[in-house]
Point group: C2
Chain length 259, copies 2
Amino acid sequence: MGSNYAGFQRQPGKTTVQGTLEAALQLITGERTAVIGSGRTDAGAHALGQVCAFSTASALPPDTFRRALNAHLPDDLAVISACEVDADFHPRFEAVRRTYRYLIWNRETRSPFWQGRAAQVRVPLDERRMDEALQLLAGPRDMSSFVPARTTGSRVRTIFSASCRRDGDLITIEIAASGFMRQMVRALVGTVIRVGTGRLDLADFQRVVDMAHRPAAGDTAPAHGLYLVRVDYDLAVPQTNHSAAAAEFVAAPSHEEIQ
Amino acid sequence: MGSNYAGFQRQPGKTTVQGTLEAALQLITGERTAVIGSGRTDAGAHALGQVCAFSTASALPPDTFRRALNAHLPDDLAVISACEVDADFHPRFEAVRRTYRYLIWNRETRSPFWQGRAAQVRVPLDERRMDEALQLLAGPRDMSSFVPARTTGSRVRTIFSASCRRDGDLITIEIAASGFMRQMVRALVGTVIRVGTGRLDLADFQRVVDMAHRPAAGDTAPAHGLYLVRVDYDLAVPQTNHSAAAAEFVAAPSHEEIQ
């Protein structure tokens, strides 16, 4: 759970997922090792299936690393599985698909259960309309409307699937894509929420996408509703697909130093 | 969520649900009012749908009470709905059915998401066998095997339904009964877990029930997996049935002091 972390990436004087993993590894191996993640996550966002890699001179078997890391990590961070990979494996550059989930607690009354784990929207949302809007995104898309204007490089990402469903008062948005830019999911969710309230219809939503201009879209939804669900690779990294486990997945002690 | 509370019932020097509700009510009405719950809950256990009642001389409408209470209560406690009832309504004595849920995180690796919200069992459990054992309980039962030896009064309770299901690594046990005695669900879950590991078969389980003797049963499962889901009455108290909301339900500002 990301609630207690200033995001993934190591920052001086702040508790981050990367820094916490590196400190645990140092206790186990005595080495100062850089942990590479599949991507940054925002402060307050969560990961159910992050993939990380590190290099070590240690001969400990991967599953011993898993257990030793779990013994040293705080309760809100866990290693689900570990395996050895080629020394040149890079969890960010080699990822071919990432899946994010966004949870909305859609009720006027707050939920103690979902506090810090889902974003509350007090007015009723039409999840079917939101689902229809998300379906429009399938395929390669210029996602400029959903990223900060200063974003550099290509803003085209291939959306493999995007959907919205309701279970009682909980709305789940799930998006799988070739890649995600900073704040992309949160800005997209903020815009889809406008569809759910009726402020935008489907044609409006399509226009927002087509304009490829950030001010056209909705507000950035809060980070605490966001979950990195899984990261896929075109290689045999074991993936665990589990519905509600929050955990960090650490792949790959390889036998060379990356840094 | 009950994680931060020493149970429901007011205790000097401890933070309890009852004490917290009474303090919020006093801020709103200026009155010192006793809040009556539908039953005690153990320290660390949770409530998705507790029912409470209080008396007040205030003329505030029930929904105003709901909103004012939510404004004064901490984030881990929320009032889902409120209504006015007869002055002689008692949420404990008039309850005709209570439903409890018990969550088990059944995986060797801990879950940051379910930490403090489900009890971890590391060895694989056979949820179908556990379900079969629970089915055996239907009907009026002497539940002596599942309550402390010192329990006074009749130990017969009518079990309306009892079941077990799995969703990935999460196992949910749900039991609805005419009433529950102290530690009854947790001792029953501890025994059903023995069925799940294969330590008891169904005939063994039946014998444990029939012996009506506490030492025959399993350990008491930890409180943090336990949820009071709902309380039913033979009157028109609105009930909200929601899958995953943790919340406290406060019914009934009536216009007389109970104490």
